[in-house]
Subunit: 234 residues, 2 copies
DNA sequence: TCGCAACAGTTAGAGACTGTAACTCTTTCG
DNA sequence: CGAAAGAGTTACAGTCTCTAACTGTTGCGA
């Protein structure tokens, strides 16, 4: 996409940007967001300090780029998993998609924490991460096409139905994944699914279950099954 | 506890420590962990830079202290909520306790994020936070005394039963809150409850549901009800 | 083919921060 | 009352972000 090789200069520029990001990702993995330091990256690339500002406006811009990439990457992983799915088994679909998210996160915890971790109060995410977030969540929605929400989640479904009625953009997005009339349930399922996923994967990835006698996949499976139960899914 | 006033010097020392922590908390609220800076605190206290190192060994030590306080505070809030509870209604118990956690977190998001947010790779929490974590989670366990786990959570219960069999400390802890034989279900309930709570509250507090058409309490209630359903609680 | 604008890189340096060293003054206490 | 412990100071080393001002190099249009 966006044309591979333009001028040789532009190509070299892209290459350097990529190298910078690679090193930044390594620093991120080694010491978290705080450990990403332009000066050290520069030293490693063989440039001297301020030269990096030719490639990224600021340290924040670099991190933003990493966030964008991670979101897109996760969305792609989920999309790939959604490709080979049997439409008729909603519960299995949820397990497969949630499992794909978890696998992605466990394989590269630092990147998951980057997009899902504690936000810096001042920082606002780039608007296109919202698109990516929708791309991640979208494939979950069809699972709720024939949902029969239980008492427990009905208030949630009601609020989401109302939301869809007010916000045409969201309504349209829901309708792209689910037959008319099921928007409320689908949105509720999406939000609750995202919540369960965030809970299980977030705790696993941040190591808070270290030394406890359960495995991450069992925990996630239990959460997803409970969700499926709440919506009466097969 | 630990004797209020000893020498006047010790008292003054405690007072200064408290003042430092207060300012640190304000900085935390304003700009997240990264915004807590000893030099700026010193300026505000009226001391000059290095003087703060008389009170805290390092910036990390200060943050650790804040974490310890926050944990203890949350545990206290949950303990208080657990005080006035009807033993016979497990589902209501879960809602009350989870609601107490959420209220605490929503009232002071920065402190919740401090203890529950992204960990710094190098950092290891002080061991007594584990006690506090148990103090937070303990009151949830009695709700699962008469649980009848559904298919969905049974693998989880099995793993936790096995864990209790292997780790006598954990088994004893569970038995302090629940009759013999229910340890597995109680531990599973605790872990799943913590997961649901973390998912719902974490997303709410970090503002990721901004502009979505649901409220934090409805989301949490749905999660907790689903959990209660999974364990066949009244 | 030449010339110049855009680009890539440099050094110097300001300003914020953490943390150490060495030193002075004050309190406490035996 | 005198010495040790404590509270504070300045000076400084080192890391980091980012700006300013300057130099060399590319590439493209006339």
């Amino acid at each position: 996409m966006t044309a591979g090789a333009q001028s040789p200069r532009a190509r070299y520029r892209e290459q350097t940007r990529a190298e910078i990001k690679d090193i930044a990702l390594r620093q991120l993995a080694e010491g978290g967001t705080a450990a990403v330091a332009l000066t050290r990256i520069a030293k490693e690339v063989g440039l001297s300090g301020p030269a990096l500002y030719r490639y990224f406006d600021s340290r924040d811009a670099l991190l933003t780029d990493l966030i964008r990439d991670a979101y897109a990457d996760l969305a792609a992983a989920v999309g790939r998993a959604a490709g080979a799915l049997d439409e008729s088994r909603p519960r299995a679909r949820l397990h497969a998609l949630a499992g794909a998210c978890r696998s992605w996160a466990v394989a590269q915890p630092h990147r998951y924490l980057l997009i899902q971790g504690t936000p810096v109060p001042g920082y606002t995410a780039p608007p296109d991460t919202l698109d990516s977030a929708r791309a991640v969540l979208g494939p979950f929605l069809p699972a709720f096409a024939a949902a029969e929400p239980s008492e427990s989640v009905r208030p949630m479904v009601a609020q989401m139905t109302e939301w869809a009625a007010k916000d045409p953009v969201v309504a349209e997005w829901a309708r792209a994944h689910v037959p008319a009339g099921a928007e409320g349930a689908a949105l509720a399922g999406g939000v609750l699914g995202w919540t369960s996923l965030h809970g299980a994967v977030g705790l696993e990835v941040s190591g808070q279950f270290e030394g406890m006698g359960h495995t991450g996949d069992t925990l996630l499976a239990a959460q997803i099954d409970a969700l499926a139960d709440s919506f009466g899914l097969d």
